[in-house]
Symmetry: C2
Subunit: 331 residues, 2 copies
């Protein structure tokens, strides 16, 4: 920066002001810009953050980047935060709370303006860390009874119950469930709990359950799980899956066995992933706006940041995201 200042014949401060787009005469501005170009000067963000006491980072922690669910949410966040000059520091927890804790600690070192987490399951240390940091926190994809700070999501239990009701209305009674495997995937577990709760409420049997392998649930899990379910309870009329991925795997397994979906057996998914609409038969699913969760989270973050400067007001602690059952061909 000193070099730029010297070349432009001004002080460092003037260069700093020009770069920040603050008051400066046209002439000076021009000379400074030219000097910057000429030297290929790129300001050091670390120095700026240190000096001003505020970084331009927003930390985002997702369980898995390779799940389109979460990468869509990251996309929504990017769309809202980038125009504000904020940069995302993205971390992948791999569904492990300990890893989340490590990552939170690591991100906190960069003094992020805000930190967005996925879900409501965190270690005590993580909570303590966040509390102490004083940084705004948003929990995404869930609506905890007591958010750390803010939350943007929906009740996976309720959404799952709604799908069960849909299936029951369609006349299916012997309904099975595929998924809810890992204790680490709270959202998957909640969908399982929703299945159980609604089946009980409807007075239907709720033992036709095959739990899956590790999260993230992928399509590869669906096939074997479906095979097991068909073997153990051949009279099953419909199967609800913890995600569209496993639903797809299940449908493919049925096709391999010559079963017609939905005539021989109905299958429903969750999430409304692209594959649900494309695949044949198209998958009946619960639509959740993953990108929208990112956007709304971004908006809540921007509002919280502005509120820090006394401009505008924070969003409410909980932002509820809509979901809908989307009837398609598979159930």
């Amino acid at each position: 920066m000193s070099d730029v200042a010297r070349l432009a014949g001004v002080s460092k401060m003037t260069v700093s002001r020009v770069m920040a787009g603050r008051s400066a005469s046209e002439a000076t501005r021009g000379r400074v810009q030219r000097a910057i170009e000429e030297l290929g000067y790129v300001a050091d963000a670390a120095a700026g953050a240190l000096s001003s006491g505020r970084s331009s980072f927003v930390a985002v922690l997702v369980p898995s980047l390779s799940s389109s669910n979460f990468s869509d949410t990251v996309g929504g966040l990017t769309a809202v935060l980038e125009p504000q000059g904020l940069e995302l520091l993205i971390g992948d927890t791999d569904y492990l709370p300990e890893r989340e804790e490590r990552l939170v600690r690591q991100m906190l070192r960069h003094q992020p303006r805000c930190i967005a987490l996925t879900g409501s399951q965190h270690t005590d240390a993580t909570r303590a860390l966040l509390q102490r940091s004083g940084v705004p926190v948003v929990e995404m994809w869930d609506l905890p009874t007591e958010p750390i700070d803010m939350a943007v999501g929906f009740s996976n239990v309720s959404a799952s119950r709604e799908m069960v009701r849909y299936l029951a209305h369609k006349g299916y009674q012997r309904i099975g469930f595929l998924g809810g495997a890992s204790e680490l995937d709270r959202r998957g577990l909640d969908r399982f709990k929703g299945y159980q709760a609604e089946m009980k409420a409807l007075g239907l049997e709720r033992h036709r359950v095959v739990r899956l392998g590790e999260s993230p649930v992928t399509m590869s899990h669906g096939g074997p799980a479906m095979a097991e379910l068909l073997e153990r309870w051949p009279d099953t009329q419909a199967v609800m899956c913890v995600s569209d991925m496993s639903a797809f795997g299940a449908i493919m397994e049925c096709q391999r066995r010559g079963l017609n979906v939905p005539r021989d057996i109905a299958i429903a998914g969750f999430g409304n992933f692209e594959i649900a609409a494309c695949c044949h038969p198209a998958i009946t699913t619960v639509s959740v706006d993953a990108y929208g969760i990112g956007q709304r989270t971004g908006e809540a973050i921007v509002a919280a940041l502005l509120a820090e400067d006394g401009e505008g007001t924070r969003h409410p602690a909980k932002t509820r995201i809509q979901y809908t059952v989307v009837p398609r061909e598979s159930a």
Copy 2:
């Protein structure tokens, strides 16, 4: 840090040393650790980077985070770089060179130790920026004739040609191609070029081509494209797709029309995504180790970083990644 030092009854320097895991007596170390715990002290990364002149960032730019291809590559990078204490600064270019340029400039502000880009197509300004920065650069997913610095990838042209040869050997002659749409997706374009080159070499017609919409190519593109191809050239025997995603969409379209794949028409994909193995019929494809590209890139980065300190030696400028045609059911 001063607070920690005061509480532990030592100097700031000693605290700094303890945190860096350098020489310190057991007693001192203990007291410092306790003070850190008690105060919930989290060191400021920006200050550390500024002072030491080196950050712990590695910048990574991918065209799209929601493509499993690239998120797998990011996973491979993470696996190798995280244990080295390096952190990823991830950016999504959306296949736009101008966006890549903006992101490169932005990442450079954080003084990354290294920067990994996808592909070999960059604006002149990007190249200049990188050159001047003096930061090691790795281009992934391609093997440019003249890499900016290092490259880890393979020839999409050659891989594509190999798939055409496979199809021809299987006896197919009237082979079509789906994809290679966007000028921005160099890799897709290269696969298209490979198709043309090999069809020509084999003396086969190469006009049965339907170009797709925007990148990233998704499964939704495959259906309509397949429909168009079937309409225009009903005598087509096999179709090669620019990616497994479009191949899947194409297969679903065939099923909707009551066509049997591969009996009525054969379909091949590219990339060996999870869906290719799961779907029915399973998709014949070109397998590329996306995660491995990330790993190898990570290793090249670590080697380059060590070489900077005079420890060990850099990897060669080009690292070739293997690919193989995987025969499955669809072709």
